[in-house]
Amino acid sequence: MALTQPHRGRAAEHGAALVSVAVRRIGLLVLALAGWELLARILDSRAVPAVAPAFDALVSTVPSGPFWAALGGTLQSWGLGMLLAAGIGLPLGLLIGSSPLAMRATRGVVEFLRTVPAIMLVPLAVLLFGATVEMKVVLITLSAVWPLLVHAAYGIGHVDAVARDSMRAFRLRRRDRVVFLYLPSALPLVATGLRVAATVALLISIGAEIVTSAPGIGYEIALGQANNAAPRSFVYVLLSGLLGVGINLGFGALERRVLFWHASQRARSTA
């Protein structure tokens, strides 16, 4: 009994903490909606709907086909672009990172190419592919490949020197060294690279849709504003924000799961 006492106390405490978090979240939501309403009234513009019309639009838009088609259009190009970027960027990054010479030789080119704002390529890509999914996939790949490549290269380049030398001294096979030392050492930065790339990919996907009218969430946002259907446009703005939060949470969880053993995560869980 004496042992269960503090345990039950902690459970109750935990429950109370959950309730307090829920209360605060709801309070924030109410406050945010009130702020939105206030902003809409101050601006008094057809472009920024008040809460009630936006909510009506939400109720009528979400069950409709175009809503899911737009979500699908953005997610499809995002996913394909991420796959391609990972397929190209990660192996290339790992290869480059494992040779200091290759690191030095490619540095200038990589630094230059990755700072070209990918959105500058939109007009070229539109002429080549039209306002299509292919166009978006190419742009997303070209923008998401750099964070992946750079993070993978740095990850594999920063192997613990003592571990590397001991493995070499014990004459571990090359394959074992790669599997048990180099790849695990690169993993933390690869996970970070994935998260960065996923965010960039979403941004470029929606940006390209807004600029070129390729099908997707961005297109619906621009269309709603152009047609004086601001409430519907805002439904899609909210959707893009939720998608962004989802991507952040999802890749953040992946990062923690893959890296439960890594120091940065251990420090976080005790803090």
Binding site: A32, A47, L128, Q225, V237, S240
Partner: protein, 255 residues
């Protein structure tokens, strides 16, 4: 000698790639991939130096205005919020949502409310880049060493000095990281707003080149923004090395 070899290793690939592009594209008849020779000639014609003055400078002006407002506002708000744990914790989900929202998604609304002018473009840039600065500032200020923070409190160091000599320097690595993320976002925001509004600037230039099917002009705009992005990042690296010298030294293993 060693220095020379390093420079040669660094320059070999860029030169090789540009040479290959020049050679492969020399007889190109594809309208999409004009010979590099043509692009270079067009680049000199368009950009040197009237284009830089009339087209690039407005873009850079918008970028600088929006970016610097975002940095100042982000750091000030971040420090204020971090000083108040309860408020910062309460607002955290909302701030995370705003950061995750692709900033471009609000460009159409910005246009409808603020029109096509410079205010709209600057506001869009501020909105794009303020969130990483703000959130990183909060994280950075909170992450300042507890012992240092407590000692400062115990010794009753005045508020202004505490801010200037303890809080801001302690948070600066995180702040700089957020400011760096903001740099790329600001550039994207400037170009997208220019493309959508077709007023002036490099974004509008490249958009109108697309509409008139002027591919060499489009290529020059891409190359130009490559140079601009690269230069801005180099400047940023310089600044980072200088302001964070103490931090980098602490992180580097003694060698």
């Amino acid at each position: 000698m060693r220095h020379l070899r390093l420079v040669a290793q660094g320059l070999a690939l860029p030169l090789l790639l540009v040479g290959a592009w020049w050679w492969v594209s020399a007889d190109s008849t594809s309208p999409y991939f004009p010979p590099l020779r043509e692009i270079v000639a067009e680049f000199a014609d368009t950009w040197l130096f009237t284009g830089i003055r009339d087209v690039l400078l407005p873009t850079l002006g918008t970028f600088l205005a929006g970016y610097s407002i975002a940095i100042v506002a982000g750091v000030v708000l971040g420090v204020a919020l971090a000083a108040n744990d309860a408020v910062a914790g309460f607002l955290a989900p909302l701030l995370e949502f705003l950061r995750a929202l692709p900033p471009i998604a609000l460009v159409p609304a910005f246009i409808s409310v603020l029109g096509l002018g410079e205010e709209m473009r600057i506001s869009a840039v501020v909105f794009a880049s303020i969130w990483p600065v703000l959130l990183n500032t909060i994280d950075g200020v909170r992450g300042v060493d507890v012992v240092i923070r407590d000692s400062v409190t115990v010794f009753r160091v005045p508020r202004a000095q505490r801010l200037l000599f303890v809080t801001l320097p302690g948070a600066s690595p995180q702040i700089v990281a957020g400011v760096r993320v903001g740099l790329a976002l600001s550039l994207i925001a400037v170009i997208v707003t220019e493309m959508v509004t077709s007023a002036d600037g490099v974004g509008a230039f490249s958009r109108s080149a697309q509409l008139s099917f002027d591919l060499p002009a489009m290529w020059t705009a891409i190359i130009l923004m490559g140079f601009v992005g690269y230069t801005l990042n180099l400047l940023f690296d310089r600044l980072e090395k200088r302001t964070l010298r103490w931090h980098l030294r602490m992180r580097e293993p003694a060698s």
